[in-house]
């Protein structure tokens, strides 16, 4: 039991330790403020925030629908859940290819969009946000759905008997009770959005200040400027750890609730 557990621990923590040991700490500030990293830093945090907002706006209603799906035929709920969770297990590059096939200028939805309005999504910051929302949404939906299911239904019933509309009941009673799950889901989807690479480079491309996010910049810098790549990696590791530490175990309870 002990030996495999130690191996697992080394496998999980070893790469992070190596990264922190090899990080160019003395030049870290200069590298992060340099032309290779700074635009990506701003872009990454901006797009990750935007996609988190989008995840909340779109994900909470979807979670509410799923949480109230007990009366549906079982096969429908099963398929719906599987579809929601797919981006969790899909290789991100595959997600990027799928997004291209849907939204590129010759894509299923992209072609009419381009023909009618001249809108192209790939190669824009919007494409980055779409890719990040695609991969981040399942975290929010599953977390909020779990939290909503954990809310004692008697509160909603009491609110309704006191004359609250279904909308008011949901917004003012049920949702606040599910707030920890919502917060956990939002933070997880933010972290996932910040780390998004495969779907972004496939679907959105890579242009400094427009679509070149931190992970993309790290990948491209690795060939000629490994110092910058490691500096970016340190930022992403620190943010990821901060997120998990800040949530303590709450991200687990959000899904378990």
């Amino acid at each position: 039991m002990i030996a495999p557990a130690v191996v697992a621990g080394v496998l999980l923590a070893g790469p992070l330790v190596a990264l922190l040991v090899r990080a160019p700490w003395d030049r870290l500030g200069a590298l992060l403020a340099g032309p290779a990293v700074l635009p990506a830093l701003g872009l990454s945090f901006g797009t990750a925030l935007a996609s988190t907002v989008l995840c909340i706006v779109l994900g909470v209603p979807l979670a509410a629908v799923l949480a109230g799906s007990d009366g549906w035929p079982r096969v429908v709920t099963r398929v719906a859940r599987a579809v929601v969770a797919t981006p969790l297990v899909l290789p991100p590059v595959v997600g990027g290819i799928a997004l291209l096939l849907l939204l590129s200028r010759t894509g299923l939805l992209g072609r009419p969009l381009f023909a009618a309005f001249g809108i192209t999504i790939p190669f824009t910051t919007a494409a980055v946000v779409v890719a990040q929302t695609f991969v981040g949404l399942p975290f929010l939906v599953l977390s909020v759905e779990g939290a909503l299911r954990g809310v004692d239904a008697r509160f909603a019933v009491a609110a309704a008997t006191l004359g609250a509309s279904p909308w008011a009941t949901f917004v003012r009673v049920t949702l606040p009770l599910a707030a920890p799950g919502l917060a956990a889901g939002a933070v997880l989807s933010f972290a996932r959005a910040l780390g998004e690479f495969g779907a972004t480079i496939t679907f959105a491309g890579s242009l400094p200040g427009v679509t070149e996010t931190l992970p993309v910049a790290a990948y491209i810098a690795l060939t000629n400027d490994p110092g910058s790549a490691i500096a970016i990696a340190v930022v992403l590791v620190v943010v990821a750890l901060a997120v998990l530490l800040a949530l303590r175990e709450r991200w687990l309870t959000g899904l378990r609730a």
């Binding site: 969770a85 200028r105 010759t106 599953l142 910040l194 400094p208 427009v210 491209i220 060939t223 899904l255």
Partner: protein, 271 residues
Amino acid sequence: MNRPRRPRGVLLAAVLGAVAMALTACSEPHAAAPAAPPASASSTPSLSGTITVDAAASLNTVFPALASAFEAAHPGTTVRFSFGGSSALAAQIVAGAPVDVFAAASTTTMATVTKAKLTAAAPVTIARNALEIAVPPANPGRITGLKDFGTASKTIVVCDKQVPCGAAAQQVFALAKVSAKPDSYEPDVTSVLTKVETGDADAGLVYRTDVLAAGARVLGIPFAEASRAITAYPIAPLSASQNAPLATAFTDYVVQHGAADLAAAGFLPPR
């Protein structure tokens, strides 16, 4: 997900996996190689075993064909390929990737490997290549030449400056005095070609061999400056090879017998 209890664990595992992916957005495809014993002088004339060849993305049609012919001539041998942006491949080799032969799309990229003293023999140039504009067959952006790359309203993709095709692109832009406004800097030439093939880009700068290989899926537009930004393709066996005889034999095979296939694919002769 019909049972009320078990899916939670599965879900948690999936979430953990996704978090792990998010944490490690970038991963090295190769593990570090153990220090190789010095390559013994090929005392055995018969070749066997497997070698890995890292090659520039633009060689990805010619090399597999050459490898098939090589394997047919030497039964019991297998040549595997890892195609990618030359700079990324060079970085992996310098970082200790277990690679036997390297073929780069530029002499400067090869130089990073020779400087690290990782080549087992001096690199030999096997071919040269020139850039060409690739546009979707219907040419929706009405691209006529390099000057269109300076038009912000056209969707333009080129290779990143850090890979050879991107360095060559910067060279031709400078020669043509075009201030290019790309919409994306792609990590290798194949990604540029794909964006043109799917019609997402109005134009991309790729090698003429890529235009030829893509057939009817793209239209090539040659331009004058291309002849002044020719890239060379050097190949060399690597000192880290665990199968030095096979690495050298394949390198020699490409040098001696590759010319016809390379020319057929649109490559220029080495000189």
